[in-house]
Every structure is written in C-alpha cells, then in structure tokens.
C-alpha cells in the first residue's frame, strides 16, 4: 500500500493518490485516445466514462492486454481540461497477478494549466514491458526530466543530426518555396519574398524517433497559417518536399492552427545546413522526421501518400506521445 503525491495540484500539476502496491504511475498529459504510462503495464487506457468518472483498465503481459482506449472526444477539447474527478485503474500486479485497484485523482483546473503549445494533452504510454525479462545488472538512469518526455525518449542537450543522404547546400539566390496541388503551382516565394513574410519566434520541444528529445528549443520561422492563408484548397493531406528529394506526408490540418512553421533561424542564428538550413519545416507535435529539412515546398493532396521514411517502415503519422514510431504501431 502506498500513497503518493504526484506533483501537487496546487503547484499546477496533478495530484495523485494510489491505493495500489504498484506505486509509480506517471500521469502527465491526457487527451482523447489517452494512455497511462506505467512500466508494469502492457497496455492501458480509458475503458469508459460515466458521470464524470472514468474507468481505466490496464493489464500486464500475463493478462490479455485488451482494453478500450479512447477518451470520449466530445469531452476533450484542445488545450482544455477534459476531465475532473477521479480515475479508477484496475491493475494486475505482474509478480502475483492479483487484482488490485488504484485510485488516481487529479483536479481539473490543474490539468488546464499545463502549457502545451499544440494539440491536446496526452497521457503517456510506456508500451508493453515483459517483466520476466529483467536485466539484473541494469539499473538505468532515471531523471525527473525524463518523466516529462514522451514514452521511450531520453533527454539530450546537444542537437544530434540524422538524415538519409548528403546535406544539400542550397544557395539563397536559388532557393524557392512553392505550394502546389500536384499539377499547378499555387504560390511561389523566393528567399527575399519569403523573408518578407511576417515571422514568429517560437520555443518548442523536439522529439526524434531515434529516441532523443530536446526541450525548449528556440526558432524563428513563418507560420504555415501565414503561408497557406490565401490558398484555396479542398485537399486533406500535404506532402512536404525537400532539396535532396526527401519527402514526408502529414494531414493538412497538422500544418494549420499554429502547429507548423517554415523555420530559418535556430537559437538566434541562421539555420545551419546540417540542421536543415536555409529553411526547414518545423512540426514539433510530431516526430522530427516530419519536420522536413531543406524544405522547398508543399504539395496539397486529396489523398494521403507516404513520404520517404513513411514508405520505409516508419509510422504514417508519428505522434510521439502515442509512440507511433514504426508502421504497425497503433
């Protein structure tokens, strides 16, 4: 039996109470399709809702990990608390397979105070863990910072580089950025006209599918809301195109509503070529491969079409909070 407070509601985060012997829930963010993050769980999720109480069922490898996982979407609005009250978890301890129950309570207003730049908030999910595969000599490095990261990520303070081929070096006098619909160019900017667009300074967290996360990175760029402002389209999907022929696909809605930028400065300096300069897409709510380096344009598409990594085994959407790394991940 343990009772634990996880960070205090009064300080602007969640309060937490557990009546379970399993005592280390990590509840950080939540939304529709929410998950609960606990190392002992194979799967978890919201089983149902009634009169302000949500039942959450989770199971361990010994149990069949079958649960309903979706938060009712009508209760969950962007950047708004979607729940207040208590959540009940049923937990099967992996060591003895005894049915246990934990109660987890958090105050609604405190949820709302989480400052997330984009989309809704999430519970994090660790994914399944096989407790019978334990490495006795391994203790790992747990840090409070890691608790704030999407599942399976670790914190880095440097800025690793990853790309599939040589770094293109694009002279500014030949740089251009276009919006097209697959047939016609709808908008075109050269470097000067692009830089004449109003830009924004943003601070965002980056999550790379290769498991590093970097928090609080500072960028300057032009919002896709600005770029797409006068573009009339019925398209639902977008394919970002880069110098060097890299592509990545994403729903057009993920480029809108202050979620995406064409960034040209990082940390106060012009963006270096190895990090995607002169300009890269920045879509921080998705894994970083969606933030196409050396971006040269966006093709609007009525139907989805996989980009480079999406066609090579990586997830089509790539939400780090749902750990959508590889194709086949839910």
């Amino acid at each position: 039996m343990s009772v634990r407070s996880w960070p205090d509601a009064a300080s602007g985060a969640h309060s937490y109470r557990s009546s379970s012997t399993v005592d280390s829930f990590r509840l950080s963010r939540f939304t529709k399709g929410a998950y609960v993050n606990h190392p002992l769980l194979t799967d978890s999720g919201i089983a149902g809702v009634s009169s302000g109480r949500l039942a959450v069922v989770m199971s361990t490898p010994a149990m069949q990990p079958k649960t309903a996982t979706h938060f009712p979407s009508e209760d969950c609005h962007q950047n708004k608390p979607c729940f207040s009250g208590s959540i009940h978890f049923r937990i099967w301890s992996p060591s003895c397979f005894v049915h246990q129950q934990a109660e987890l309570a958090f105050a609604g207003p405190s949820i709302g105070s989480i400052d997330l730049p984009h989309t809704a908030e999430h519970l994090t999910r660790q994914g399944e863990v096989r407790m019978d595969i334990v490495s006795r000599g391994f203790s790992g490095r747990r840090s409070p910072e890691n608790a704030k990261l999407p599942p399976g990520q670790y914190l880095t303070t440097d800025f690793p580089v990853l790309s599939a081929g040589p770094t293109p070096h694009v002279p500014l006098d030949r740089w251009e950025f276009t919006i097209d619909d697959g047939t016609h160019v709808l908008r075109r900017w050269d470097w000067k006209s692009f830089r004449d667009l109003p830009s924004e300074t943003i601070t965002v967290d980056l999550h790379c599918v290769t498991r590093w996360s970097k928090l609080g990175t500072s960028w300057e760029g032009v919002s896709l809301d600005t770029i797409l402002m006068d573009v009339q389209t019925n398209a639902s999907f977008a394919l970002a195109r880069s110098y060097g022929d890299y592509t990545t696909n994403l729903p057009l809605n993920d480029l809108r509503n202050k979620q995406a930028w064409v960034a040209f400065r990082f940390d106060g300096k012009d963006l270096a070529p190895e990090h995607g300069g002169p300009a890269r897409l920045l879509v921080p709510h998705l894994y970083l491969w969606k933030s196409a380096k050396w971006v040269r344009g966006i093709t609007l598409m009525p139907h989805d079409k996989p980009g480079f990594w999406e066609g090579l085994g990586y997830h089509n959407y790539g939400d780090p909070w749902r750990e959508q790394r590889y194709s086949g991940d839910q």
């Binding site: 190392p39 334990v134 040589p166 590889y326």
Partner: protein, 243 residues
C-alpha cells in the same frame, strides 16, 4: 512486437567494444544495414531502449549480432558491454530501416566508408556479400582512431585473404602503425582519390559514422564526382548510440 533474444556468445572487439550474439527463435530475418531496438528492463520495471546496428548477415537461424561501444556516461551501453552474460535475455524489436541497406541482388560497385563504430552496419554488408558469394565489387574505407580501436580486424583480414575483390583501406586519425604510409589524420581528398572507386564506376556509397565524419566524407565523395543520389548515410548522434 518485442521478441526475446538469448545471449549465446560475447566477444570483446576492443577493451570498450563488445559484440553480443543473440539467438532469437522467432526472428523474421533482416537485410544488411538494418538496425534493431534493444530494450533492457531493471528489476523494478524501469526500462530503456536503444537502437543498434545489426552486425550479422542475413541468416535463417535467428542469429542477431550487435556490436556495442561503451560510452562515457552511457545509460545502456555500460550494461551491455560489462554486465551482460551468456544466457541473459534481452528484448528486441525489428529489424528496422529500409534505406541504409545492401541486398545481395545488387551487383554494382559498392563503396563503404566507416567512421569508428559506424563500421558495424557496413560489416553486415560485407558479411552478407560473403555469405551470398556475391561478386559485387566492394571497397571499405575505415577511418579509426588507432589500430587498437579497430573492430573485426582479423575477420576483415581473413575475408580479404579469401577474396581480393574486397578492398580494405584503413585511415588512422590519431595513431598510425609506425610503418604506415600516411601520417594520422582525417580523411581528405587524397584518401578518397586513392581508396575509393572512381566516380565513373557509379558506385553506391554507404557512409556511416558520427555526424561530422559523415558530413565531411559525403562532401568529399560528392566533390570527387559521385552523384549525391548514390550516397546513402547513417549518422550517429553525438550520443554515439546508433541514431
């Protein structure tokens, strides 16, 4: 899907680098150049995952080898290079990656360029070529700090002795053997000119190593006339653990 691999052999490549051979009964097979996610779990349930290049060639008996370099302040690599023992089990997910790969059906000349532990996926390609009795012309340019830091030295030597169509050139960056023709230093245009295929043979180039190494090697390849579309790269973050 996570699979369970049992450690069946351990081999120290250098004092800080260890090759771990795993037996994975339900392994679906892999292609040379792919990588695998490895999950280690502490007794209290805490787990950490890292990606490692697969060093073994494609095979039908579920053997997966990874070669792990111990990193100062690493979280997972000290465990894998010091603590793990035969019989221990690890969880694996993969294989992953479909871009930085070499398939035995490829017949064109291949240029491999490795920086340090970046040799691991390239070794899988060399082993795959040997296992498939491929005659694709292969050259490896292997940049390494000093002779003692070389991975797979004896095996590379044996492969070369059996098959002289596999070219191997070492480039030492800090310490070279006393009789070495070139003083220690980074790969430059003259090394590229002497140790890699002429660009008119249109080799497919695979470059793997730390970011700065890959940046410089790809620029040199490109400057010597190689088509950028023929250059595939895999960069290690500054963390050193693959990608």
């Amino acid at each position: 899907m996570w699979r369970i691999g049992t450690v069946v052999a351990l081999h120290d490549e250098t004092p800080t680098v260890r090759t771990i051979t795993l037996e994975v009964p339900d392994w679906p097979g892999h292609i040379a150049g792919q990588h695998v996610d490895v999950r280690v779990t502490a007794p209290d349930g805490y787990s950490a995952v890292r990606s490692y290049s697969i060093a073994s060639p494609p095979n039908s008996h579920g053997r997966v080898e990874i070669t792990v370099e111990r990193l100062l302040n690493g979280e997972v690599s000290p465990y894998l290079t010091q603590e793990i023992a035969a019989g221990d089990r690890l969880e694996l997910r993969g294989p992953i990656g479909g871009w930085f790969v070499w398939r035995p059906e490829q017949t064109e000349p291949v240029q491999l360029i490795a920086g340090g532990s970046g040799v691991v996926p390239l070794m899988a390609m060399i082993r795959s070529r040997a296992a498939a009795r491929s005659t694709a012309p292969f050259r490896l340019l292997y940049s390494v700090r000093e002779p003692q830091a070389t991975f797979y030295r004896d095996e590379l030597r044996a492969l070369y002795d059996k098959d002289r169509s596999l070219g191997i050139t070492y480039a030492y960056t800090r310490v070279a053997p006393s009789d070495w023709p070139r003083p220690p230093g980074r790969i430059d245009a003259s090394v590229i000119a002497s140790a890699t295929w002429p660009s008119n043979l249109a080799p497919t180039c695979y470059v793997c190593g730390p970011t700065s190494f890959v940046e410089s090697a790809t620029d040199l390849l490109s400057a010597s006339g190689n088509d950028r579309d023929k250059i595939r790269t895999e960069r290690f973050g500054s963390t050193g653990e693959r990608k």
